[in-house]
């Protein structure tokens, strides 16, 4: 694999949880992966850096490395302060994979800001974010819910994983084992992306295809299954379909596009790939777009792991190079005040929530608009920023 393709992807961990995830991805993948961790807490930064990851401190001048104390606004401000420091790490990067745990200050506050900045630079972003556990309380859940639309607004693809779902199988185990297992699962999904594009396999997925997939795919669901033994091909699909993260197969059957990764040992047979693909195609819609890749790794001998990203809002009609120019047929009319910029995703339904047009202006209905950076400043800021108000 050429150096360029390897480096076109960057893994970015945001906040304590995001850095830990990124570190475990790095650990399970080995060298050759570009990873960067950013956090406001110097201590957790140091731990992550010990694992060989490049780490940056956010908001050093504001928070002095003490973390945000759960305040998302502090996290956001910290990201704004130090966005400049992240830029040098983005050379040659086309697709950024972001991991973050929502609910607290840095993950919740800095992530939307970083995603927005990356999006403005024209990079494709795929965000793996986790929702907090139910036992972490209502406040954290609400904080996470509040942040999601802000990330969704600018992220090309958003994968939300509820920690409760992730741990559903490990209820009785020891805490450390459960955490490790869950992190391992999530990390394996993210690692798969790297393996698919960079490790030689029978059928490989190139970075450009992933880039296009992420751009066109929109929000995704993430799931996995694994099986061993003689009937492993059919079992692994069954395991995938019963995965809670995919809403027990519902996400597969409704998906408009699937990215399927087959991890197996050197004993993988061609017939097995055929079986798996056949079963997956049976499970999903007939016009579903399926991209697949295989990774052969000696440590998976005797086992098959299936990792899937299912995209429901896949827009098949968009040309492969949607960044150059927005296709006129696809775009719903957006208010003049919101010029469509290269890389803008206003065409998607969820982006169009910003096109208030004439309704959001109130007093300034018939006045010359105040435009700044393509935004109509007469429209209330809380609407443009997507801030939910407490009633």
């Amino acid at each position: 694999m050429s150096q360029e393709q390897q480096t076109a992807l960057l893994l970015l961990g945001v906040g304590g949880g995001g850095c830990r995830l990124a570190a475990s991805v790095l650990a399970s993948y080995g060298s050759g992966l570009r990873a960067l961790g950013v956090d406001t807490d110097a201590l957790s930064n140091r731990t992550a850096a010990a694992g060989g990851m490049t780490c940056l401190l956010l908001g050093g001048s504001r928070l002095a490395g003490h973390g945000t104390g759960g305040d998302a606004i502090q996290g956001r401000l910290a990201a704004q302060d130090d966005m400049q420091n992240i830029l040098p790490h983005l050379q040659g990067v086309r697709t950024v994979v972001i991991t973050a745990c929502l609910g607290a200050g840095t993950g919740g506050g800095a992530t939307p800001e970083i995603v927005k900045a990356l999006h403005d630079m024209g990079l494709a972003t795929i965000c793996f974010v986790t929702r907090p556990f139910a036992f972490e309380g209502e406040a954290r859940r609400k904080a996470a819910e509040r942040v999601l639309p802000m990330i969704e607004e600018n992220a090309d693809s958003l994968v939300v994983v509820a920690l409760d779902d992730l741990f559903s199988d490990a209820g009785g185990g020891l805490l450390t084992d459960a955490v490790q297992a869950a992190e391992g699962l999530l990390a394996s999904g993210i690692t798969l992306l790297w393996r698919l594009v960079s490790k030689p396999g029978f059928i490989q997925l190139d970075a450009e295809r992933l880039h296009a997939m992420v751009l066109r795919g929109g929000n995704a669901r993430f799931g996995f299954g694994s099986a061993e033994g003689a009937e492993r091909a059919s079992q692994v699909v069954a395991a995938l379909r019963s995965c809670r993260l995919l809403r027990s197969g519902d996400a597969v059957s409704k998906a408009n596009a699937l990215l399927l990764g087959i991890l197996a040992g050197r004993d993988l047979r061609l017939a097995e790939i055929g079986d798996i693909m056949g079963l997956v195609r049976e499970a999903c819609k007939s016009d579903c777009h399926v991209e697949m890749g295989t990774v052969l790794d000696p440590q998976y001998d005797g086992r098959i792991e299936l990792v899937v990203l299912s995209f429901e809002s896949w827009t098949a009609a968009v040309p492969v190079e949607p960044r150059k120019d927005t296709p006129p047929t696809q775009e719903p009319p957006v208010a003049e005040a919101f010029p469509i910029q290269p890389g803008s995703r206003k065409g998607r339904a969820k982006g169009s929530k910003l096109s208030f047009g004439t309704t959001g202006r109130g007093k300034f209905q018939n006045v010359e608009p105040t435009l700044f950076n393509g935004q109509d400043l007469d429209v209330p800021t809380f609407i443009r920023r997507g801030i939910a108000l407490e009633r």
Binding site: S61, I73, V367, T370, L377, D378, T381, I383, E390
Partner: protein, 400 residues
């Protein structure tokens, strides 16, 4: 030479202010009369309804006349609006004398060159403010006279706006039977009234939070290095509140003044604000936190926008004197706290300390622009009245 009383008129978006300033023996300006009246017919600093704007001007003038015991027929006018722009215009002169020593004539010539600002046909230059001389390639020279060099350069900050917008404001004053002798940019006026020499030396940014516009002016090393205006102000905050809670604009304005706060903090959590019933309006209860969230979002955005403008102008690292807020919006609770967070600089409210007579006024910072305009009138009196027929030549007086 005695300077007659000066009348300064500011047709603001929320209210029209008329100040009468008299110069005492020591040269300080004392405000002897203040007239204010709520403005109608102005949006974002620009006149949209002449006849309605006239009513405000007439009422404010009457009030000020009565208080100062004068009769006003000529005024100075402060203007603002998103159309106001500023840019640096360099002037250059080659020193022709044999010894290459800069003479007084050279300085005059370069000043004249620099003030020949080229703007588009539909724009009018309001101010040309001298910055600093560059002697050959050595910048930042204050007094180049007697220095040896080949080329002398002077940078001038030119503030200009759209001619027809400025004329509209002038016409509003004229329709109230007032002659307009000069027009000045509100931000420059506010800086004259508020900023101290010490602050200008240290580097400071003045943010004038008006009703429809927010003006800013930054000093670095005694030199005006950034001037501008964004058409976002207190009206936007009110409008945001009205849209967020679906209440009329006047109720939104009331609740903003009574309960508004620029930061969301512990004391806003859980508290609720009651909007009493009125004719055709049921009693409403709002969450204080939601109210503060709406205000915070708007103010944060405004400050951030200014920050990015200042960053572009390259002045952000040179503001040792911090941020000074003035104008009516400065009285929004904790506005200074928010500015402090956004800019990372100390922030305080600036009162019109360079003029006398406003100590007892309610919210004196809201009068900064009009008071500063009177001061401006005193400073440019000679230019306008006796020595120079050219208006608007602003001889780099402030800052030095």
């Amino acid at each position: 030479m005695a300077i007659p009383p000066i009348a300064a008129l500011e047709i603001g978006t929320t209210r029209t202010v008329m100040c009468v300033g008299e110069t005492n023996e020591s040269g300080r300006v004392k405000i002897t009369g203040v007239g204010t009246y709520p403005t109608i017919g102005v949006r974002k600093g620009q006149v949209v309804d002449l006849s309605q704007a006239r009513v405000g001007v007439e009422s404010a003038a009457k009030q000020a006349e009565k208080q100062a015991d004068v009769s006003i027929w000529q005024v100075l006018l402060a203007t603002s609006g998103g159309h106001i722009q500023a840019g640096v215009n360099p002037g250059m002169v080659t020193i022709r004398s044999n010894d290459h020593v800069v003479s007084r004539e050279d300085i005059e010539e370069v000043t004249e060159n620099a003030k020949e600002v080229q703007v588009e046909a539909d724009r009018q230059v309001l101010h040309t403010i001298t910055q600093a001389f560059t002697v050959d390639d050595q910048p930042g020279i204050v007094k180049p006279e007697g220095m040896r060099c080949k080329v002398l350069t002077l940078n001038v900050m030119a503030v200009h706006g759209l001619k027809n917008r400025i004329d509209n404001a002038v016409n509003a004053a004229k329709s109230a039977q007032l002659d307009v002798s000069d027009v000045a940019f509100s931000g420059v006026c506010a800086a004259l009234a508020v900023l101290t020499p010490e602050q200008k030396r240290n580097g400071v940014v003045l943010i004038d939070l008006g009703g429809g516009t927010t003006n800013y002016i930054a000093y670095c090393n005694n030199v005006i290095s950034a001037v501008g205006c964004v058409a976002v102000g207190g009206d936007h905050v009110t409008n945001d509140i009205a849209l967020a809670f679906n209440i009329p604009l006047n109720r939104a304005e009331e609740v903003k003044r009574a309960e508004g706060c620029a930061v969301i903090d512990a004391e806003s959590g859980g508290r609720r604000v009651v909007l009493p019933a009125d004719v055709g309006f049921e009693e409403r209860v709002l969450s204080c936190k939601a109210l503060h969230t709406v205000i915070n979002a708007r103010m944060d955005e405004t400050f951030r926008m200014l920050r990015s403008r200042l960053d572009e102008a390259g002045v952000l690292p040179h503001l040792g004197g911090g941020v000074v807020l003035t104008g009516g919006g400065a009285y929004l609770r904790k506005a200074t706290d928010l500015a402090q967070r956004v800019f990372g600089l100390p922030c305080r409210i600036g009162l019109p300390v360079n003029v006398d007579g406003l100590e007892k006024a309610e919210q004196p910072a809201a009068l900064s622009t009009a008071a500063g305009l009177a001061l401006y009138g005193r400073m440019t009196y000679e230019d306008r009245g006796l020595f120079s027929p050219v208006k608007n030549i602003f001889k780099g007086w402030f800052g030095r």
